[in-house]
Subunit: 333 residues, 2 copies
């Protein structure tokens, strides 16, 4: 096999098959798998399924803490988790620029395989297209996923007093991408928080009936995602700045860059809206059983109906956090 | 809304929501739909499901007989049909180049909506990413799909004597793309055969037990797809040139261009491998009930085990049709 992707790797002929067999099946397929079929057929006894999709265009493709492959699988598993679903199957569609390094592609495929293996999920259907040099920026990956929704989870209407939890420190993915993309000469150990959160659905199972909403704060960060939830819920959100978990390094870098970390993406954190009075119990579970030692209760819904997100600042002030209006960092995922 | 796509249409904030509400939901959503959720949840009693994905990078985006949106939905519905599945739900992931025309995007979304409506299928989950000008070529679409597999269909081992049917004239999609891409000054009515074949699963239901394999000959055309099936089956294929349905216009254009139409993509045709002796009956059904008036029995499997595809030519010769080795037309779908 040559060491660069050529146009005929995407023509559906012998070269495409070589790519599938030599790279994709070796990285995340089953021994001896034959992939003649255009559709994967499966049987299931589960009656309630979740289905999601995401495309990934992150730049750079390799970043501190991960790569586009890891991100593509984690992103879809996390979207399934927001629906209270344990992942079953994933699809992977590649759009690759002619000339892309084949060793890089192997590394990306291996990352995908690793996340799948760790989370007991299989990539069962895929597609590869190659476009001419200059018609794409390296590699884009689309994943979709199917999962089984836990019987315990049935999101319901948000009410004043409902509590908001974040499962870990914020803005690490966004900051990592910024540092790598612009090759900023800042000495730091920051890396992306990119990871799969499927385990939360099992680990929190007994408390799922008290969880009213789950959402991973990716593009637009915690502030934008809470605005969406406030809009949907019809009530205001009140955040406590003091409670928002953020590493000193991430805080420092964002201060230097003049960026508000509340608008930067996480790729391994979940926002939970929990029924009033259940926050502490869930927080304890998160800390003790889910390995989320930095989880925090960051605020709650109030009875005000402007659907705004407010923050009680450390110095006792109050400021509105609007929804993201302009790109903080493009191509974050 | 401005008339060109901007980077912040893909940042997950208010502009992204505007795009989803104003274009995607209006084109193929439900009245009053709220799309806060990252995952679509559904219940099903079906025990056997099919799952597939494809990315679409066709160039040009609008072509005689269709556009990338129509193609993206038809392609996925047809992949589900190859598994004997009636489509249930579809996902749509967009990667759009900054500066792409918003009216063109509307037209593409409408095309997607029309095919979905006609085939009783819904787009239930999606994603939009925007990349900087020069980082993609206009628009790329990924679709995935879930369908319910007919209990009547259980593909089984191919044996010598099994017959091969094509449901209509070949190479029309590939030829249409060639004409439009290179703006060839040839006067012709050729247009892409791009269409959804989901109806075949219902229309042929009583004969599904006699169908051993279905495959839509897209990239690489009829010749490449038959090579894949021969490889999998372990037997040779013998085609009859006289029986291969091809319109005189397509034939003429391909002669001028020096291209073999057996290697050009169809996007609305199905190849069926049927149990020996059942070809005529299925052909009759295709003609009378499925509107496939140009369907033909084009060959059969023989007892030879070289896994080659031969063609009996019109002048009495015999030639091998190898699998596609080099790109005939890139970015055909």
């Amino acid at each position: 096999m040559t060491n660069k992707i050529k146009l005929n790797h995407g023509d559906g002929g012998t070269k495409t098959n070589e790519l599938i067999r030599e790279i994709f099946l070796k990285s995340y397929g089953e021994e001896g798998e034959v992939c003649l079929s255009d559709s994967f057929v499966f049987t299931t006894k589960a009656s309630k399924l979740a289905y999601t999709t995401d495309s990934f265009v992150v730049q750079p493709v390799f970043f501190r803490g991960g790569d586009i492959g890891k991100l593509a699988i984690c992103g879809t598993l996390n979207d399934l988790a927001t629906a209270g679903a344990k992942p079953l199957y994933v699809s992977a569609g590649f759009i690759i620029e002619e000339g892309f390094d084949i060793e890089a592609l192997c590394q990306i495929a291996r990352s995908m395989g690793e996340v799948c293996k760790r989370n007991g999920v299989k990539i069962v259907t895929g597609d590869t297209k190659v476009v001419e040099k200059g018609s794409a920026d390296g590699i884009f990956i689309n994943t979709s996923g199917i999962g089984v929704v836990s019987e315990q989870y049935s999101p319901c209407e948000i009410e004043p007093g409902d509590e908001i939890i974040i499962t870990g420190t914020i803005a690490e993915h966004g900051t990592a991408i910024l540092l790598d993309r612009y090759d900023l000469a800042i000495e730091t150990n920051i890396k992306s928080d990119c990871c799969a959160l499927s385990h939360l659905v099992s680990d929190l199972e007994i408390m799922l009936p008290y969880i009213k909403q789950m959402k991973d704060p990716t593009r637009g960060g915690v502030a934008t995602v809470l605005n969406e939830i406030a809009e949907y819920a019809g009530f205001n959100v009140e955040l406590l700045e003091n409670n928002i978990p953020i590493s000193p390094q991430v805080k420092a870098v964002n201060e230097i860059l003049g960026i508000d970390p509340l608008y930067l993406a996480c790729e391994g954190r979940m926002l939970l809206v929990v029924k009033k009075g259940n926050g502490s119990k869930i927080l304890q579970l998160l800390e003790e059983f889910c390995g989320c030692r930095e989880a925090q209760m960051i605020g709650c819904f109030t009875a005000d109906r402007q659907k705004l997100v407010y923050m009680q600042t450390k110095i006792g002030g109050k400021r509105v956090l609007p929804s993201l209006e302009s790109q903080t960092v493009p191509r974050i995922c």
